[in-house]
Symmetry: none
Subunit: 249 residues, 2 copies
DNA sequence: GATTTTCCGTGATTGACTTTGATTATTTAT
DNA sequence: ATAAATAATCAAAGTCAATCACGGAAAATC
């Protein structure tokens, strides 16, 4: 059987059963455990399944029960990569830093790793603000209209409020990273907010797992060389020529 | 069974039952208590459930758990009275109203009774904003520093942001109501915010149960005749001479 | 055309790591 | 104070990634 063919079958099987053990797949597909494991690793890297200890689960199985996956509920996907990235990013925060934290699930993860209580934090995410407070950190929120799905503060009030601040560091999420289009996101309003935040920051960091490279979304909010990238895999050289990239792996 | 699979089932179970004991999960999933506890700890760290002594509860169980324990504790006192007051207050909201909702436990209760989706809502409470969004209402938040205990946005940024708006109605909490001192609250910063909000509102309502009458706290944020009072017991005549009071009982 | 070389996917082996349930010590609620 | 719940620790069982050798297919060489 062809490798690709087998892998497609694995994905189908997992989609159907929600969760599966390595042994189950060994029996079902008549391949060795080593091969199945390699397949699962590959499929996990392609974000087609979620590899877990003992087997794999379908990507969407976690929110099968929730009617509307909100920010907090989505945040636990792909945690291993995000943990690495967040941990490194959090270590960059120094005493007296004035830190902007962009809304989004990657940056939400970042907050769980922040330990520096001498820095000040400001965010446009409602959940982010709540979580920062839970960790006992000095927190501010940007005012403005709130976008329901992402629970992010956006709009002209938000952009104007941002223009008054001067952050020492900012941590942003992104949907796409490309040499031609720079950093991109699907929502115009969010893009405007991100752009304004970066404009008022001394050092901007983009937190992005490897799957974001080469992806282009609707709206550009920054060119590559304005932000450092923190990611989980050594990227193609053409990106490295454009900006500083830290790969944690 | 896979670890992740079991944990997903635990989340489902908790989502469905709102609360669950360790023993219940041991019986339901046929795993040892030690394992269940480890699962609960892990899920709590991922913010997928809320671990409590004896078991766990759902994170989105609207009654208790979206609120900080400190806030939640207070919110559970005098619920019956607050429900009456909130219900009446919510009925006052009309289409196209621009409504300011002050932070505090009484006003948090109010949100659960709001049904008008044609009005616009703005608040200085982080939890309030989240709750408004959950109810599918058009929501804005005021920006500024957040006071950790109450999760209320306060400070000069907040006051300045408020000064741009013109609300048709505002709903405020208070700690004390007295003929001499007017409406009072213990925190200077919160008082400034409340005062500014009232200043920019056409019709301000104070939600207060009967225990607040005759009480004086540290800082006055308004005199009596600037706001209507919504309360749960017919108050003394001396208050009625000063402002409009609606007693719901 | 036949032989060699290279490449890639596979399966087996192994030491390292993860999960689990039992036991014990500690913490918590009443 | 007491009883229950929890966290910490440990050994056993199970799982994983790395490594190696094998074998078939494609490419290079003769």
């Amino acid at each position: 059987m062809l490798t690709e063919e087998r892998r497609n079958e694995i994905v189908s099987y997992i989609e159907e059963h929600k969760a599966v053990t390595v042994q189950e797949l060994v029996d079902a597909l008549d391949a060795s455990a080593a091969t199945i494991r390699r397949d699962l690793t590959a499929l996990h890297d392609e974000h087609r399944i979620l590899k877990v200890f003992g087997g794999a689960t379908s990507i969407s199985s976690k929110d099968v029960n929730t009617i509307e996956p909100s920010v907090a509920e989505k945040a636990h996907r792909n945690t291993a990569e995000k943990d690495l990235i967040s941990e490194y990013a959090a270590s960059l925060i120094q005493d007296n830093d004035f830190v902007y934290i962009d809304s989004g699930t990657t940056t939400l993860h970042l907050i769980d790793h922040i330990t520096n209580k001498k820095a000040k934090y400001i965010t446009n995410g409602v959940v982010h603000a709540k979580r920062l407070l839970e960790r006992g950190l000095s927190t501010m929120i940007i005012g403005g209209r709130i976008k329901p799905v992402t629970e992010a503060v956006i709009g002209p009030d938000c952009v104007e409020a941002l223009s008054k601040f001067h952050f020492t560091k900012s941590f942003m999420g992104t949907n796409g990273i490309s040499v031609q289009a720079g950093f991109t996101t699907p929502d115009v309003d969010e893009a405007l907010v991100k752009a304004e935040a970066i404009k008022h920051t001394y050092l901007s960091y983009i937190l992005a797992d490897h799957s974001k490279f080469g992806v282009v979304s609707s709206v550009t909010f920054s060119n590559l060389h304005s932000c450092c990238i923190i990611t989980d895999e050594e990227p193609n050289k053409k990106y490295k020529d454009q900006t500083i990239i830290k790969a944690v792996c």
